[in-house]
Symmetry: D3
Subunit: 248 residues, 6 copies
């Protein structure tokens, strides 16, 4: 099967990291296709950038649908805490998996209370919002931030792992978490470091989403079109898809 993985930011480095994580999680016979928006922000650290990224991934899919080049059995939206999953579910017939929700679902299958460890403190609120709206907040012990932004994570990977493990330890000791969800995409080796140091399972959202996508495709299940995710009416839009209007 083919899984289209959408990195919602415009960083090619991040896309490569997400692609590697997705490939590592994919089973035999699963093809991973990772891409990123044609416009937007190199990192997503605000509500504004989150909306921009949602339109960016919608634009990729709309352009593929318009040109008849969309060809995937499932789609993974690889932004932790970002908007856009419901829009993709409206636009597509195949399953759409979001890495925030996927990590939380998998965490609940293997533990009683999970915590999310993300990058900057300002990402806590949107992650809490996503979990609340997805009906996945009841067993969330906490959403915590290690205090390092994307640039810092890239500049000092070893230091970043240390900071994330330290925050995960607080989640386990102070908040009672028995599973940790990694609250960002594309960091290799962190889940292993958490488990080695703390003895708790750690869930990477990209891996979880790829695993769940394979599961849904295997069971021949896809998004219900009888409710919130039915396609919308055919309203007139201008400059859409934006990438085409921009000549990209």
């Amino acid at each position: 099967m083919k899984i289209l993985v959408l990195n919602p930011n415009t960083s090619a480095t991040m896309s490569a990291e997400i692609d590697a994580a997705a490939r590592a999680a994919a089973g035999p016979g699963t093809e991973i296709l990772t891409t990123q928006p044609n416009f937007g922000s190199v990192a997503i650290d605000s509500a504004a950038e989150s909306y921009l990224s949602a339109v960016g991934v919608m634009d990729i899919v709309a352009a593929q649908l318009a040109s008849g080049t969309f060809d995937a059995d499932a789609v993974v939206l690889a932004g932790f805490g970002e908007h856009g999953k419901d829009a993709l579910q409206e636009m597509l017939e195949v399953p759409v998996l979001d890495i925030t929700e996927s990590a939380a679902h998998v965490a609940q299958l293997i533990g009683r209370r999970f915590s999310v460890v993300t990058t900057l403190a300002r990402s806590i609120a949107p992650i809490e919002d996503r979990l609340l709206l997805a009906g996945l907040a009841a067993h969330c012990a906490s959403v915590r931030a290690c205090g390092l932004g994307t640039a810092e994570l890239d500049a000092d990977p070893a230091g970043a792992v240390k900071a994330i493990v330290a925050e995960a330890e607080r989640a386990v000791m102070q908040d009672g978490a028995d599973v940790i969800c990694l609250g960002c995409a594309g960091m290799a080796g962190v889940t292993g470091a958490i488990t080695d140091a703390l003895g708790v399972p750690a869930v990477d959202g990209v891996a979880a989403a790829v695993g769940l996508a394979q599961m849904l495709v295997g069971l021949d299940l896809s998004t219900s079109k009888a409710g919130a995710y039915a396609p919308g009416p055919d309203n007139v839009r201008t400059y859409w898809p934006l990438s085409k209007a921009l000549g990209l």
Copy 2:
């Protein structure tokens, strides 16, 4: 004071109706400036269009900020159930009022349980989501839809009023609402019709938001920049503002 009212869709007709409602609610000395996105959808009936509209209103504000032409004491986002308020709060120092939340706040001040009556059934879920995230769901008796889309409302205003009043009556009789919030923007005369027919107050979100904007400006209060609405980091963005990249 000046209030910038943002219609999130691209319909000039709707902008005119919203503008009229805002002017009717404004106090003496308040200037209303209503505008609409340079790209997007003529009506907002899906999650995809809601995200597109959020980026559309962000684009208006970003372009004004970039050109030094932003000049308002408060901003009203006039989409019922639409995304984008938090992004505008991040971008601006002045208060930002959303008509969904504004209607709900005002309803709670004058009643015990409110219902929202919106257009199409597919708008119920996003309105419920906005109220839940805003912490305003506890006294919401129901969100109901009259079943008529924007085009139908425009084509037969008298029939539309009748359908909305009928749905509001169900909210009062079956769900126990004692206040009705009108779940769309720009419909003149509907709140009066509801109150005349059912004897309950009816709240128009545009009027509520204008009133609350004036209140906040009068009390010299604005969005806290110490938490979720602090400005984000200065990430590199491409093709932003989109309207400038599009040459609009």
Copy 3:
């Protein structure tokens, strides 16, 4: 317009402070009339005193209604955490604003999570109860007490401000509040001190209630009489209004 402000305790000093706060918040053309019960308690620090104060403010209004001297476009109940708002809403056609709820509504418009800082620890429970019943608990980060009673606040205003700012800092740092509501009435200058020290907006309930009262009157909205706040049946009462029976 005229706003009747009801201090629920019998302290003339407190009435004067509340009156000053209300006048400072009032717009041009708004007349503030502040009064206090004819019997009751000089401060309200218990459930018993809260009920007594509710009957005290009901008595003022009942006496004015009986004598035909009630003349206000809105009423503000200026007790933080005190009972009585719903009774006044039943008795009156004009809007009734409670300072606890008003502060919370305004806080939610300008922030994501608010904390209340009140006087004594024993006031925390009734404030939590008021917020829960009003459907305003979901975004309340905490209700905290500075540990000083009314007498101490009056005796050492500078020390009181310091204690309140210190407690507000804990709310911001430990509980994640980005807005502070001042949990008592009549303290001049505290909101400014909080904002200066902590960089977060601070909301005074009296100012919030006056602002919201003006907003409702401006929008021609008042309490719904179709539900919980309909006038009750005409039951026989003895010694009512109590102040008349007492010969006051």
Copy 4:
């Protein structure tokens, strides 16, 4: 042991009915002393009357404490949905039982979901509020009203029983209740009629409160004075107790 039963309204007929219900529930060796306020309302059908009744029962207890005539091992507040329990808990060392909460506690011990059937629809909201504040809402299937006021109940007892049983049947069939709480005080024979007709247990609040009072006294347990129910500070009050000031 002696149990002081406080009817919060001024109806001697109602006091007699409550007294009979309490006596019927009392064990051997339990003495029931029923009384009513010296001022207030003959029936309690509004928030205003509920506050007045709270002050009325506080006044009885304050006068007894002041004169040294208080002599009871427990107190029962016999108003369904009325305010005042917490004030009495502050004032007294002995246990205070409220019939609303007592009925709900007993119902949860013998069933999975209970409904309350009260008199007028306007009593539903305050009963819901009492249950929510008492932490007893989670297993409440519904609060329903039979539509008859106190006067009507008295005028046609047989018709009243029929109406209450019919409403209880809706609670069982439509809301899934397996226990019914009688939402008013002083009606003989109704619980038996409900059980006979519907095969579900029915709980009378007065009986439940007397039973729980005996239980607490038997276990030598009383209200915690270490938290919300500690006595308040010794604030100056005027015209208190009101009955003394009124010369009653």
Copy 5:
């Protein structure tokens, strides 16, 4: 009246302690009959042992019912946090009281927020689950563990009391509890020690359940058979009752 007290583990020492606690709480004329399963675990410190204990107490009752020797007016299930109450309610016509729920009900009657202090940390989760399912979580401030297992409690009773009082103090000071529930069965003297040291009431579940059982029998109330606790269909079972199949 006769109360059958079921210790869910197989420790005769524990049964004796529970029996003593039940007798101390029983009124004149109440006969206490304490027993324990014929198979199972000597202590219950896991979900597995909790299910085994539920079947153990079901087996006792089933065997008595089969042999016609069941003779009790009420049953008390004396395991704190253990499963089984609903099964016994299905099997029996007389009231069944669980000590976890009984302690919580009594605590809510005498305080605003209660904490449970149990033995090992691993018992916290099942106690939280029982309270949540029973609709008794809203006023639970915390469930805490003193860190000592059953064997340690028995080996050093004085040290155990000290550890429990220390944990109860944290519940009062840090979590705001004003009542403590003792989260295990059969420890003499601990409730007195808590009250002496901290000035808050402490509730022993066995005493609470015996008191509530007497109350229900006194009011002639028992489990509703119209809902969840109706007897199940007559399905074929093998090796049931297990004790008979085991030849015990």
Copy 6:
């Protein structure tokens, strides 16, 4: 990989149906081993039978562990609404999937609100309890029963499908569900019938659990042993495993 599927009742017919459903959902290379308890009930229609079934599946696993014959990469507990998953998680290192929770997780991935359609009305309460404890109740629109017991389902499969589809239709039309979970195990063809008739996806718990088990094994994730599911202390047990004591 090998998946051990545990039918919690003693019906060989049901085991065969569950086995077929599991095999149909298994991927290539997955071996399904289905078994059932050595004692217990032929169907599970009460809390008592649910506890008995939990001990029955524990007994299977304990006997395999004791004899060194346990050989599976994951375990599926195939009882809808039954107890026991947490006990198996304590006992085992490999992942344990429960069909109730698995169905709900999968439903949330493909829809906004799901309903469960089960057999008898008395199964509704335990299913609601499982979902609440698992933190999966927020998006559950309803749990409904078709009114047919296991025997009736077996006797008239065509009629059973019709009744289940009719109840599912009520869930969609009245409760707003856009996904249906089949609330029992072992019924072939029902999910297809629901989707054909109503146009909504239908989830079979056995298939969902097998799919999720394969996903977890594929991602090398298993139950956290750092919290609630750590193995319990080594308490003395008598007659355990029961099947060995029974000579089975």
